[in-house]
Symmetry: C2
Subunit: 463 residues, 2 copies
């Protein structure tokens, strides 16, 4: 079976010394708090942390599979209008489970996927111009229905569809994922009669990939969402285990917390030695940064907490970031994402046998080189006193991705307990949003606009 | 004229307070050292820092333009086999200057571009399977000719071309960029008679984008390389100016150095508010990390220096990283990349006029929303005491990109002087490379292999 494994050998003092690595005493001291943290998280399963139960939604799964089956073959393009938690999981799943060049030349009747998680007109206008409305399905995703980026895209795509296909037929090209009852988008669904799915309560954006937010677009591009949830359910069981040493979420969360607080490593590098898994690092970067990056602890004291996620790709970043990783400040720890069995083989042919500089490569599989470089980097990091762990899958498949997602979500929930912060809010994004509304001249934000204009009198310093 | 501007208003104490922002006294104190640093860098222009003069290589430019013209219309695909400095600049230029969806459906006779800066067989085998050899041109790039990743790819693509097109004709599909005299790749060029270009001496990988390393693939995908160099030459003149306040490279380098050393901000976030410029952040991440991330200063003392580059995209990361940026540790400073005039307009249509939650968007251009969000983020960061600067272009064109590249290269060279490190070597990448060679069983590395095997007796800790 394809089981997710967390190898933390090289974060231990044995491997990198006690200044940078964890001692057995430090690990032993956190097992009690870890068990308590897990218990507090699991106790909220039926209350506000409903995302823990997403692996078990049989009805939703069937509804999504039916919808995907009902539109099969009708569309060449699936467009997701969504951002943040409504985009990053879907992007990661598509990159992991469809062929890397799928969108260049779709095969097997599976549409191209465009996840539009920005509002740069240079990008959106370009995408819009390439798509045949008659062959395009748009999935609009916003829990609140109030996300300005997503609603702008919705208005633009809706207009394009109506003009191309007519008021009636355009409805077949839109499917909405939003709150069951509340919000502008739900109101629009009811007026227009769009197909729709529900973002359930107790499922925050960054914990929503296994809800219809991620499952629907995944199913539309041919991903086996049943296997995805089966993997997540399997991992959910592993993540309920009380024994610290047997629960990967407990160990992972403890290592992250101790690396930052006991070993002064504020930077958490996810180093994906897998082209397919490289965008899973972006998904995890949101999960970690938005959950733990908090000004206040639960008692309201200023703590300015949070690790900074950094995303790297192996072997690519060996030629870009590894110089810094091996020789720079001791302010980082590393998690390699690793796949033991690539799907493809690719033999390097023999040639130029008299030139030693290339001859040693002949007859080897490219995967051997890839793994030798991964192992070489792991050795170099360890020898330089840089703690590094490895999250590995035997192979990249839907079951394995489901495991990875569920494990990291539970881990981050446990981390919230260790750090003493609320892992499920995001108060720090409001200020920028309100300033943007004010600058856009939205009703109700006039006072903020006046304040911004008054404050902007500072003389600019420009060169 | 499209002039690069560096706005550092919000890194000053006036904007974010003296604990996190630079005081006028701190800026004044660095002007002398900065002028001296600049003088030391410029004095090496004709000696070992030959990359400073890349904007002025008229002959090379003509040769590249001629080669590109001679193959125009013959290829649908350009494949670059190269990694690190042989890849990141090209990736950034293509993303900035060709349409975002160009590679999905090439227009104007411009080929698709594949820059293969990894050796994951799942990716490389997939790309290889999609390309028609008869319509593919492969550019192999390695200064030394010894880069294992690049040489593996070369052997694989050469074999594919020979089998598809024959021993004779395959030569028309390969062009090599390497050292003028030395190395295996130059030897192969001479045996096989491949077309070739030169990576000049005094031009390290991460400073090579304006040499044939970046210029050739750029020209092959229709980029105006003459304008690119004109922009770089214009910026070279600006970067020679002695007066601190008038030289963007001096100011930029000083701000980076002071942010890390005087204000304890080890993390440098490049926050690209531009889909087109988002990959320029990856290019800069290599330049910064590999140049300044050094264990030893020039006297050989351990300093473990170096800022950690982090790449973010606006508005996307407002929904992922901004929570951490606004509320987390005060260990970061920010450089927004900004484009004042997007190329495209995209009006948000009026609809649902009675629903205030969307109605305020109707009739606005998407670019207005994009800029309001950028400004909102800038305001929120500043009000939270987070120093932020803005590097802006009026628009994204080849001239502007040339300016950006030259400015950042000169800035990093000056930073090397401030930090007291050699900005032009990368000793820290050797250890991993040697370990990989040993694991691959390459001749001459037997001893290292034995040492690795002896050391790997540590009991694994896995959950």
């Amino acid at each position: 079976m394809n089981t997710l494994r967390f190898d933390f050998t090289n974060v231990l003092a044995d491997a990198v010394g006690p200044k940078h690595g964890l001692t057995e005493a430090e690990l032993a001291a956190i097992t009690g708090p870890s068990r308590q943290a897990l218990a507090r998280v699991q106790a909220r399963r039926d209350a506000d942390l409903r995302w823990l139960d997403l692996p078990y939604q049989a009805d939703v799964l069937s509804a999504i599979e039916s919808f995907a089956a009902s539109v099969r073959g009708r569309f060449d393009n699936v467009v997701v209008c969504g951002i943040g938690g409504s985009a990053l999981g879907t992007i990661a799943l598509h990159a992991a489970l469809n062929a890397p060049t799928h969108d260049l030349a779709p095969t097997g009747g599976i549409p191209r996927l465009f996840v539009l998680d920005n509002v740069d007109p240079d990008w959106i206008a370009d995408v819009l111009g390439r798509l045949d409305p008659a062959r395009t399905l748009v999935n609009v995703i916003s829990k609140s229905g109030g996300t300005a980026e997503t609603m702008s895209q919705f208005l633009i795509f809706r207009d394009r569809l109506v003009k191309a296909l007519g008021e009636e037929a355009h409805r077949e090209h839109l499917v909405v994922t939003t709150d069951e009852h509340k919000g502008v988008l739900r109101e629009i669904v009811e007026r227009e009669g769009y197909a729709s799915f529900v973002v359930p309560d107790g499922v925050g954006g960054r914990f929503s990939v296994l809800s219809p937010v991620g499952l629907l677009p995944a199913a539309l591009v041919g991903i086996d969402v049943r296997e995805l949830l089966a993997g997540a359910a399997y991992m959910d069981q592993r993540c309920r285990v009380e024994a610290f040493d047997e629960n990967p979420a407990q160990v992972h969360a403890a290592v992250q917390y101790l690396m930052q607080t006991a070993k002064q490593k504020p930077i958490a590098v996810t180093f994906a030695y897998s082209h397919r898994l490289r965008l899973a690092a972006d998904w995890y970067a949101q999960l970690l940064a938005e959950s733990i990056g908090k000004r206040a602890d639960r008692d309201g004291n200023d703590v300015f907490a949070g690790p900074t996620p950094v995303r790297a790709v192996g072997v690519t970043d060996q030629h870009s970031q590894v110089q810094l990783y091996v020789e720079g400040p001791f302010d980082k720890w590393f998690t390699l994402l690793s796949v033991e069995r690539p799907e493809r083989t690719l033999e390097i042919p023999h040639a130029f046998a008299d030139l030693e500089g290339v001859a040693y490569l002949g007859g080897r599989d490219m995967g051997e080189l890839f793994h030798a470089e991964r192992d070489g980097t792991r050795i170099a990091l360890t020898e330089a006193g840089r703690p590094n762990a490895t999250l590995s899958l035997e192979r990249v498949d839907a079951h394995g991705l489901g495991q990875l997602i569920q494990m990291l979500e539970v881990s981050v929930a446990i981390m919230g307990e260790h750090y003493g912060v609320d892992a499920f809010d995001q108060p720090g994004v409001e200020a920028g949003k309100i300033a943007a509304y004010a600058l856009m001249g939205r009703a109700g934000y006039e006072e903020r606009r006046a304040a911004i204009e008054a404050a902007s009198g500072r003389a600019p310093r420009v060169v």
